[in-house]
Point group: D3
Chain length 296, copies 6
Amino acid sequence: MSSLNFTNILTHTVEELAEPESLKGLFHQHREGKPLPSSKALEEIIDISRTIIFPGYFGKSSVNTRTIRYHIGVNIERLYKLLTEQIMAGLCFSCQDCPEADGMKCYGKAQQTAIKLISKLPEIRKILATDVTAAYNGDPAAVNMGEVISCYPVIKAITNYRIAHELLTLGVPLIPRIITEMAHSETGIDIHPGAQIGHHFTIDHGTGVVIGATCIIGNNVKLYQGVTLGAKSFPLDDNGNPIKGIARHPILEDNVIVYSNATILGRITIGEGSVVGANIWVTEDLRPNSKKFKKE
Amino acid sequence: MSSLNFTNILTHTVEELAEPESLKGLFHQHREGKPLPSSKALEEIIDISRTIIFPGYFGKSSVNTRTIRYHIGVNIERLYKLLTEQIMAGLCFSCQDCPEADGMKCYGKAQQTAIKLISKLPEIRKILATDVTAAYNGDPAAVNMGEVISCYPVIKAITNYRIAHELLTLGVPLIPRIITEMAHSETGIDIHPGAQIGHHFTIDHGTGVVIGATCIIGNNVKLYQGVTLGAKSFPLDDNGNPIKGIARHPILEDNVIVYSNATILGRITIGEGSVVGANIWVTEDLRPNSKKFKKE
Amino acid sequence: MSSLNFTNILTHTVEELAEPESLKGLFHQHREGKPLPSSKALEEIIDISRTIIFPGYFGKSSVNTRTIRYHIGVNIERLYKLLTEQIMAGLCFSCQDCPEADGMKCYGKAQQTAIKLISKLPEIRKILATDVTAAYNGDPAAVNMGEVISCYPVIKAITNYRIAHELLTLGVPLIPRIITEMAHSETGIDIHPGAQIGHHFTIDHGTGVVIGATCIIGNNVKLYQGVTLGAKSFPLDDNGNPIKGIARHPILEDNVIVYSNATILGRITIGEGSVVGANIWVTEDLRPNSKKFKKE
Amino acid sequence: MSSLNFTNILTHTVEELAEPESLKGLFHQHREGKPLPSSKALEEIIDISRTIIFPGYFGKSSVNTRTIRYHIGVNIERLYKLLTEQIMAGLCFSCQDCPEADGMKCYGKAQQTAIKLISKLPEIRKILATDVTAAYNGDPAAVNMGEVISCYPVIKAITNYRIAHELLTLGVPLIPRIITEMAHSETGIDIHPGAQIGHHFTIDHGTGVVIGATCIIGNNVKLYQGVTLGAKSFPLDDNGNPIKGIARHPILEDNVIVYSNATILGRITIGEGSVVGANIWVTEDLRPNSKKFKKE
Amino acid sequence: MSSLNFTNILTHTVEELAEPESLKGLFHQHREGKPLPSSKALEEIIDISRTIIFPGYFGKSSVNTRTIRYHIGVNIERLYKLLTEQIMAGLCFSCQDCPEADGMKCYGKAQQTAIKLISKLPEIRKILATDVTAAYNGDPAAVNMGEVISCYPVIKAITNYRIAHELLTLGVPLIPRIITEMAHSETGIDIHPGAQIGHHFTIDHGTGVVIGATCIIGNNVKLYQGVTLGAKSFPLDDNGNPIKGIARHPILEDNVIVYSNATILGRITIGEGSVVGANIWVTEDLRPNSKKFKKE
Amino acid sequence: MSSLNFTNILTHTVEELAEPESLKGLFHQHREGKPLPSSKALEEIIDISRTIIFPGYFGKSSVNTRTIRYHIGVNIERLYKLLTEQIMAGLCFSCQDCPEADGMKCYGKAQQTAIKLISKLPEIRKILATDVTAAYNGDPAAVNMGEVISCYPVIKAITNYRIAHELLTLGVPLIPRIITEMAHSETGIDIHPGAQIGHHFTIDHGTGVVIGATCIIGNNVKLYQGVTLGAKSFPLDDNGNPIKGIARHPILEDNVIVYSNATILGRITIGEGSVVGANIWVTEDLRPNSKKFKKE
């Protein structure tokens, strides 16, 4: 058999791969000069947000009460620049056919949205403080709050979620989902930015947890690893495609605990104070204070 | 108690750790001048492949219909260089005792294999396009195809798998497994490169999914997070070691759906159109169109 | 509606975020000049340890029997420097109020602890060699030991655990947990550094495995993906907070196998040679050689 | 003597350094969202230009006659992006008070200027080819043209100059000077972008050469290290400041040679074919074919 | 001829190179745990200093009057950390035999010295402002002050010198010389940190300028490229070695101009307002307002 | 005037720039799979050589008498790998038309040459030790030998030269010149690798020094900044091109001193013990012990 010649294959393969038909639906034409969504920029956004929210735990420099203003000031300014660009990237990604003249309008919107997110940071820190407390109180192995902040996966996942949820609420496309997927990749915890989650929320260990887009979770809720809060099934439209935007994930009221690998599916309500046991499968409402365990 | 002296401990520990007996089976002697498997190079291989297959979604530059040829051409040339080296690294890793004279022969083989993989790229893109469609159609939360391509873990995992599977089929050792383990680490989805998977395949969320080496999966199959397609048990040889190469993982026929955390074990067949419920344990064949759910 | 002005929001938000009340429990004041825990340094520590323990598999250069002493010598010296700094960082993190004069004492302790860990490396390699054997023997898909060392997630997780466990035993705060969480993020396997694990230990696939802080695991134990060895519940003190340091996780005796997604909770004993089936929930002792499978 | 406290000094020094008076003339307020001149971007611009002009000598990948189009295409596209940004940075740097509305106009101008420069690249390559020939022919130590292109300082300096001169001619502020200063730092050859230089120009060794802003240099001119083509003195305005824009540097006609460390000052003309000896000081016109050497 | 074997040569050469005799005077034994002089750290020190002194010209972020305090604060804190380490490195470099107990004392001295330098920054900026003015006024080609600050080599060289001179005055060994050599490498201007230089100092072009260790330069002095202010000869001690610390370089009084490639040697005085022509050689005092040009 | 369209210009310019005629003499076609000369690799080669020759002064880690063997061993192994590749790159660069079959022969030659250079390192260190002594003794401003090794430009330049000269002697094309040009760029000292230079050689300050390819320099020679040892003129062949390989630069016998900016041209001999004054121009032999100064 004769050997293949690279240059021939190269020329041929380039033609095949550049054929418009072969590219249908897989080719994103970005408008020149507009920013692209960048996982590197988004990672820096998350790193800076963590540094602002938990001073002295993240970031490379030591901070004290007199110098903290300098650090927060510089970090917020950098955050503003990065956020504006990435929000702009999200806006452009979704409206490829907008007239050129709208460029400045979009940029203004991106700036305003970035400012709004920044002005929410104190509030985001306040609720994350309750999550840290919940993680610490919920784990006898936790030595101190510092350990929780430094290395518990739930803190990473919930920080990304709370920022992404805020961005989604502010109308930013694509970017929120990339941010929660970054945490998903890092921690194995998959929280959709559309979910609504109360204060004092925690997840132990976390790998395999799934929280769907239309979940509503109350305060003081605790999940363990492998818990799914998913959709049971979803109605299809006339073309057989799933209908978007229907509430299809569970509601967990305050003070619910769900043990490891439990699966809760559909728009059902797990009543206040209920406990759902490990490896269990729940597809119907539970009344408040239910204890649902496996019979084995 | 007297304190330990670093230099003494250093000298002593170096001797202990360099002792041939202590190194048995843990020491890889690489032939000088031959490439080493490099996770950095393999990551670049995957990045470039994604850039070629989904133009404009990955990579740092914007592309349009007139410049796309330039980009694909340069990327394929770089891919060829990296692939040749890493395939060579895989070949060398597995045959440490080959005579020096075979060096050029192996290098030629590595080049030919790289060319073959490159010539398969249009086909790989075609089948990945069906996977993107399946992911989009299977998730009501998906806003558009762009979002699916940009951030759904399944797209990362299945892209790595389809490339790794092709390399394995072309006879490349070690490298395919490293490539799927990279996706495993990034997404929590563990697909063995030896598995066979049809078109329009998707996995929702994905963390914890395991697809074993001898699985055969038909078209239009959908899995949810935590699903195991594993071996039930495996026969041992006379030395008590597992016998390699026996078909021991499930066959899923076309249009099967398996819900979260279900475990399907052994060389059984899940018949066409069947649905396997969440948290269930299946070790026997299911006839076509079965619905198997937990009784609770 | 008038648009927001960034500089105003910036000044205002900096003030809010620098307010002492808002920082309570979330602010870590590090003593100037002391090293900070650094995930980059810890990653290098793990990389170097892997390079020393499995020569030729990790690291960028090829080694042979005559040059191996040079490589191990240089790597141990670098390891000593990095370990001393990170152990010091761990010590400082936990005792923020120690008098300045204790700085040198702590540094001496960090050096001694680093030396102790280094002197344990030959022993750590010996037990990891048994883990490699167990992984190879336990997986019919494993082609050779080299493949296991290069890319099996369990080898990454167990290497980090064995180093972290040693550091915890030597009294180092925080750092051991960060090291196991690094492996958790990379592999989805969450082993608390406090757990005790015998030789010839392996985990197949691994995503979602949780091994709690007070687990005791014998020799020749094998786990599959998604297995939880967790706490059932834990006693609270008078303030409603969990009491720390109580043995609350399972004991697995020698030769136990636990299949995927099984959940074993509480201070129970799984007797020698027992097999626990997939997706099962165990909260009571199992006698030696039990076979516990799901009834479905 | 009591020791200084860092935090006090910090606070105090920040205030001093932020005082408007102290900042007068030293503080550049950049308009938010506009690109900054970036030496990193400018270095990439020069690297890419060299790669395009001398294919196969610079850049990391090998090129051949069939793949060269791909490489040039991708490089020009990248060059366009970088040039547009840096030209924009130069424009913004010089007009800090322009109305916001002019932002888009400037950006359009930056794009048009970048396109113009790119369309000049074939011409720039043509004249640089003559400079390479001149350097090769002028140095008996030159082994081949490849060596000249790869490592002769004059090629670096003249490439930067020819690009910078073109940009200056196109009306770009600041950026041209930064580009020639980059070559000055790398080679010790200081050519002002405003100078006019004919074809087949070369400089041997080069360190210390200075070519002033209003120099006019003919074809086939050769300089040696340490040669100054400078201004003798310059008229001051009523405030005692030098008057800008007056022709004040020498004119060298075709085929002139100037030996090392010679100094030629003022708007004088060195006639065609003249030779100026080493370490000499010339402040008056030389007729064609003069030989001016030191009397010692 | 038989070919050489690398491993043999390696072993042999290592032994030769590790022989104490061969290392005499070339081997620097650094005390473990002490910082090493680091050109990377020193480059960052210079970059940060430039960023603080000329806000908005260097550094990657835009600054405005309201955010400038944040930026200066963060930069000074980083500068303090880096300076303390590098000053400590300089101190350790010079006293290799100091008792261990002196470690903390040296560190305290390093901190105090860093603080002193930082408190001098406003003064350093003030005098550099005069140098910028002198460079701008002295060059008809200068378009604006911004161009001078951004890209004139003299500004780089004089900034490094003024910082290094301050450090030398504060008693820091080695580090000042490394800092001026960094500027020497970048600009070709070699100013010894021991020289004394008044305000409104400038150098045009600069390559080849040498200013010796005991030079004293008044205010409003201007040099051109290639000027040497050197020693004529120096007395030897009884062993034939040069005697250190003797004043041996020229004194230039206020308002002196020295044209390109002039060489001024020995402890002579160039009187106020004098002008020294290009390529001239001066070894004797010049009275005030002398005009010394070459006769040719 | 209508604005230019980038895509049109792009396509057009790519075609122009890819035209074979336009590429003549400027296009280097590298054989696929062969290493390219890499300034990054060559910089690492120089860094490692400095680290081996002056232990503890360069490189990032501290060394002591017990660990020095480990460091030298690892460094030499890395040096061998890099040198082999870069020597191979040099060989390939110069013989583009060699038959494929010669690839392995060239590689073997590259390895042998690398080994030979490595075996010369002890000798290179020995002569560099004399250069360090000469620099220290020759400069009253030198505080200690450590300062000379750490930051004197002459040490950088002479180290690169001595390595490059050895490589040239071993028959390596191109690479030696790139190495001396790297030092030229860093220090302003331009020594051709072909020059022959005795022991105890030093250059003060150094910027602007030029030492031509056929220079012969004895022992104990000292040069100052700006000194040129150049060719006066060179005979042309029948085509008007310079004839290569003719001795055309000066011979400096032992104990010669040449002061700043002196220019010595042609194949003349400066007799033993002579002193050449600053800014002087010498084109005829000087008898031993001459003192040649400027008359002014």
